[in-house]
Symmetry: C2
Subunit: 162 residues, 2 copies
DNA sequence: TTTACTGCAAATATTTTGCAATATC
DNA sequence: GATATTGCAAAATATTTGCAGTAAA
């Protein structure tokens, strides 16, 4: 946990530097939101985040949450995760250990697997006029339970059309 | 172009088979929407698609467009592309040549680069209980124009704080 | 003191849903 | 003919915006 704390701490510093460099103000709300995101490994939606903050006794508005998340994304500390249900989620960009998302196109269930690839590996020829920072990889397919169901359905039809 | 036609044609067949297998009806609307997506290489939003269809003289509703797109995704013919602005886009899953998306975290501009990796390459150990079909890879970073602007800003601040 | 930022509420934008009419099987 | 699917409009969600008050610099 001490390593976690260290990571959060350096994220704080990075954010502070980012705000300074962009002549933006270091408001308490911004750092509270940063902390909240970095205190979890998972990806959270705006509404969840907002309600958590309220539950923790903070008095922030949704607008500020949206606002701050944009800044955190711009600062490269946080990443948007869009899983296809109409809701944007956010997760911290962990310095080292990344993960991919496996999404079932049938039931929408999301599974995460450890990533092994770096951006450089994915882009053999680094494109000119673009400096990559991080990535999100969504792999779509079918989870085993849906595949099973699918199989049964096909078989059922095959029998019927006999 | 004849190759394109052939691709669209086989997509039609695949979709027809999919509909049959799932006991769904082969309505004209469904095939018109399929054609519209396959007639373009780019990713289109629902609203754009809807308006194009109207402009072409078809009388379809937004609900049907959403509905059909879900089916096309389920059939594995079309892929959802979510770039972080709150709007889902769709593009055809081209059999062979894929592409990655480079997204500028500053200005949101999207560039596409040819993909070289297959799903298998990205997932060395195929996860049990999941059958991958296709993927979308979003690489975030900064485009050259934003990077330049950023550089100027930093320099400007450095001078000021002297 | 200046003005960027906040909370609040209203406005937009996007997607889903209910239902009667229609067209596929 | 039975019923899945459609168009339409209203509802549900998600996000953005305008504005007056507050607080960071």
């Amino acid at each position: 946990m001490s390593e976690e704390k260290a990571k959060e701490w350096s994220a704080r510093q990075k954010f502070a530097r980012f705000l300074e460099e962009h002549k933006k103000r270091k408001t308490p709300e911004r750092f509270v939101i940063l902390e909240k995101i970095f205190s979890s490994q998972a990806h959270v939606g705006v509404d969840t985040l907002y309600k958590q903050l309220l539950a923790d006794g903070y008095r922030v508005s949704r607008a500020t949450v949206y606002n701050t998340l944009d800044l955190l994304v711009e600062a490269g500390l946080v990443r948007r995760v869009t899983l296809g249900d109409g809701m944007t989620r956010y997760e911290r960009v962990s310095g080292s250990m990344n993960h991919h998302h496996l999404i079932c196109t049938r039931c929408g269930k999301v599974k995460e697997v450890k990533a092994v690839s770096t951006v450089a590996e994915l882009l053999p020829k680094k494109p000119r006029s673009f400096e990559p920072a991080y990535y999100t990889l969504y792999i779509y397919g079918m989870c085993s339970s849906c595949a099973r169901r699918e199989q049964m359905m096909r078989t059922g039809i095959a029998e019927k059309s006999k």
